[in-house]
């Protein structure tokens, strides 16, 4: 405080010092620490665990890493399965088309589904 008044040269240092003293800090309320712990508890961060995760996950992993990775894997697996089924069907249709007893006409329209089922 004295430093403030000293450096405010030319402005009546003695008068400024008590003036600035009025800007006093607030005192922390008694429940300050318990308030912090309560917030940490709500955030699930007590005892070093920011987010509760299964024990088998590596210690350094946290939900922001694990959850997006799991979601991405699920999406990739679902897309892989869908493409796999679609490709399998395409192969089946190709085989059906190559069958000597089936002409191009029989593969068109409503015969297609029946033909592919028959070849399977």
């Amino acid at each position: 405080m004295k430093r403030v008044a000293r450096q405010m040269d030319g402005c009546g240092e003695d008068a400024l010092e008590p003036l600035l003293k009025q800007w006093l800090p607030v005192a922390p309320r008694g429940d300050f620490e318990s308030g912090v712990w309560r917030r940490l508890h709500v955030a699930g961060a007590r005892s070093g665990r920011v987010v509760a995760l299964p024990a088998w996950l590596p210690a350094g992993w946290r939900l922001p890493v694990v959850l997006p990775a799991l979601c991405s894997l699920l999406v990739i697996a679902a897309m892989g399965a869908w493409f796999g089924v679609a490709a399998g069907r395409a192969v089946t249709v190709d085989r059906a088309a190559a069958h000597p007893l089936l002409s191009a006409q029989t593969l068109s329209g409503s015969y297609l589904a029946a033909a592919t089922r028959g070849v399977r």
Binding site: M8, W23, P25, V26, A27, F32, E33, G35, L40, G48
Partner: protein, 191 residues
Amino acid sequence: MTPEAADWDLVARVKAGDDAAFDGLMERYKRPVLSFVYRMIGDADEAQDVAQDVFVRVYQALHKPRFRQRDARFSSWLFQVARHAAIDVLRKRRRRPLEWLSPRHEQGATLSDPEPDAAGRLAATELGRQIAAAAAELPEKQRAIFILADYEGLSYAEIAAVMRCSVKSVETRLYRARQSLRLRLGALREK
């Protein structure tokens, strides 16, 4: 053991899962953090919330695997976190302006040397409000540097670590802050 080493020792214990060590850190720094935040945002009730949030952020940061000790002093890092928390509040206020330091906000303030009579206390509160208003006119960086230097007693090097700028820049901003306050409070003094 120096205070800085004692702080980092407590930090190491917190990282190892000792929550009592975090109570020790709070006991040591709750007053300076609350005081700094209060002077930055000017609202006693909100300052209590923000100061608690600062310690929540610190606790969470300490438990992150990538946490590294970058500053020589724990307090420098702590004041950085407090400053960013205060800036968040000021930004929110800019989007949703509130009356700066209304009398309701001042009710939470506790004077360490209270006036014996109600009139004196009211006058002190009014003066405090005017000083806070004068400081609130300062740009955020100047205000933070002024508070850290003149109320929290940090050295220029420590302030430079908190503000992530050079010591020269701290000196310049502090000089400008004092000049601005001198002008604003000079008028107040003459009343």
